[in-house]
């Protein structure tokens, strides 16, 4: 798409660079906004006001924070493994950034239109685990190590139900290409996968609760993959201080932070693309009605960002409501509840599709 368009007159390599930088234009403002948004949401939930001093209602607070983080001294603990310590935040951020390549922001923009898009995203976010493990090991801190071990176990386990749910969808639509998946859910809100996709008749009625359950499962598992409450045990500030990034400060810490918020959006984007109609509007497009076709992709981008941010908001809402699970209970939730249930859904849906 955008890559093909640019490479037609600039050549492949500059096109790749440009196409690769486009998500950055989105992620950094998003992260700045999301941090601000999280503070405000949490503050108002707790009868507070949150940041109010920098800019209108503290709107520029995160920019001030970033400026502060940039100015901070880059501290590396003397007993730390320096190369690993320095690579880890970059690797973590790379993992979450690379996931954006296959996410269709609108019908006109998708970084790379890969046929195995979903699997690519799942695979690439595995890099995050490597980054976290590196950070935990290289910090030479027991809390970091415990946090990293927990997060590795957690992320690896929670990928299983995610993939099973994706498999369920695959058995319904026969494609793992996120662009095609999004296109399948076009034209009508009830074509969204959460409402059973394009399947018609009695099957759809049976599918709706199943799909709803599948949506809940994938939302929970992705929540666990980005280490958010109630699954934030790798960071668990009350027991592990702050887990794998205890020893990080300044820009390296900011990298982890950025990666966390980028990841939050990435998983919400996946859930959106898979279940909530991707970039499609639930109502139809203004651009089509008034005949300006170039407005449609922009509207689509708006809808995509809107759905993504809405899901991110729900993540925040959960975080400021719930306590945290314990490490063994986390595994219990995954292995005893989510995996059997997702298998069950997978079986029923596959049977339905065969019928």
């Amino acid at each position: 798409m955008i890559f093909d368009y640019i490479s037609s007159f600039l050549g492949a390599i500059p096109a790749a660079v440009i196409a690769g930088l486009v998500p950055m234009v989105f992620i950094i403002p998003f992260a700045l906004f999301a941090v601000y948004w999280e503070r405000k949401v949490s503050a108002h939930m707790q009868d507070r006001l949150g940041p109010m001093r920098v800019g209108y209602h503290g709107f520029l607070q995160t920019i001030a924070d970033i400026l502060k983080l940039i100015q901070k001294e880059d501290i590396v603990a003397s007993a730390a493994d320096k190369p690993l310590f320095n690579i880890a935040p970059v690797l973590t951020f790379t993992g979450s950034y690379a996931a954006f390549a296959a996410i269709p922001f609108s019908s006109a923009y998708i970084g790379a239109n890969i046929d195995l898009g979903v699997l690519y995203i799942i695979g690439v976010s595995g890099l995050v685990v490597a980054g976290l493990l590196m950070a935990g090991w290289a910090s030479n801190n027991k809390y970091s190590l415990l946090g990293a071990m927990r997060s590795a176990a957690q992320i690896v386990s929670y990928e299983i139900p995610t993939v099973i749910v994706i498999l369920t969808l695959f058995s319904m639509v026969g494609t793992l290409n996120l662009y095609e998946l999004s296109e399948l859910q076009s034209s009508n809100m009830f074509n969204w996968m959460i409402f059973g996709g394009t399947v018609t008749g009695w099957k759809k009625i049976v599918l709706i609760p199943l799909m709803f359950a599948a949506f809940l499962i994938i939302y929970l598992t992705t929540l666990a993959e980005v280490n958010r409450t109630p699954f934030d045990i790798p960071e668990a500030e009350s027991e592990l201080v702050s887990g794998y990034h205890t020893e990080y400060s300044g820009m390296k810490f900011a990298m982890f932070f950025l990666a966390e918020y980028a990841n939050m959006f990435a998983v919400s984007a996946i859930v959106t693309s898979l279940f909530l109609g991707g970039y499609h509007s639930p109502f139809g497009y203004l651009g089509n009605t008034i005949g300006i076709t170039w407005l449609v992709p922009i509207e689509q981008f708006f809808w995509f960002a809107f759905k993504g941010i809405a899901l991110v908001t729900v993540q925040m809402w959960l975080r400021w409501t719930l306590p945290r699970l314990r490490v063994d209970q986390l595994m219990v939730v995954c292995w005893k509840y989510l995996i059997p249930l997702s298998f069950l859904i997978f079986l029923i849906v596959s049977l339905l599709m065969v019928l």
């Binding site: 949401v41 503050a43 108002h44 939930m45 707790q46 009868d47 507070r48 006001l49 109010m52 809402w317 959960l318 400021w320 409501t321 719930l322 509840y337």
Partner: protein, 185 residues
């Protein structure tokens, strides 16, 4: 199996109840205030920085003795007959020059124990609570109204008076000595 399903149900149900509560609180007005712009009105009995009204102080040292952390230090010099120190607002006659009245407010524990024994109610706690300093020495407040020279003068006066008194005492015994006896420390 029943347990399994009820676990799922109770987990989801309690999560939703919790989410409902937090959602309700999104629209509750905040209870915090924007501090330097908005300030709470403090009740009348509030205990913050100590203040001494030196016009009323008679230098009786009772507050310093009541203080559990010894943050008040008072030094006084007796007045010489003929000097009029005035009266306090509740009619007590002053008899001492207060040459030192320092409160180390950094040590103060705001317990108000110094306020109660004061016979003239000249030491009390105000509602000023913003008085941080960069240097600890600046937190030692001196309340005396006399200047340094005056303090020296009063001391000298008193010493002279003491010396005279000693001289008078000494006078009747032997014939008057050439020099007055050295003043007692």
């Amino acid at each position: 199996m029943k347990q399994y399903i009820s676990n799922i149900y109770s987990a989801l149900a309690t999560v939703f109840i919790g989410m409902k509560i937090t959602f309700k609180h999104l629209f509750v007005p905040a209870v915090t205030i924007q501090y330097p712009d908005v300030r709470v009105t403090l009740p009348g009995r509030v205990r913050n920085r100590l203040y001494v009204n030196m016009d009323d102080c008679i230098g009786c040292d009772q507050c310093a003795r009541a203080c559990p952390v010894d943050c008040i230090s008072i030094e006084t010099v007796k007045s010489v007959p003929g000097e009029d120190l005035g009266k306090t607002s509740n009619g007590k006659k002053k008899a001492l020059w207060v040459t030192k009245f320092d409160i180390d407010i950094a040590k103060c524990c705001y317990c108000q124990l110094c306020v109660f024994p004061c016979p003239t109610e000249c030491i009390y706690m105000t509602d000023v609570y913003e008085f941080s300093e960069f240097e600890r020495e600046n937190l030692v407040y001196s309340y005396i109204t006399l200047t340094k020279d005056e303090v020296l003068e009063k001391k000298a006066n008193f010493e002279k008076f003491e010396a005279e008194k000693a001289a008078q005492k000494a006078a009747p015994k032997p014939p008057a000595p050439e020099k007055p006896a050295p003043p007692q420390a």
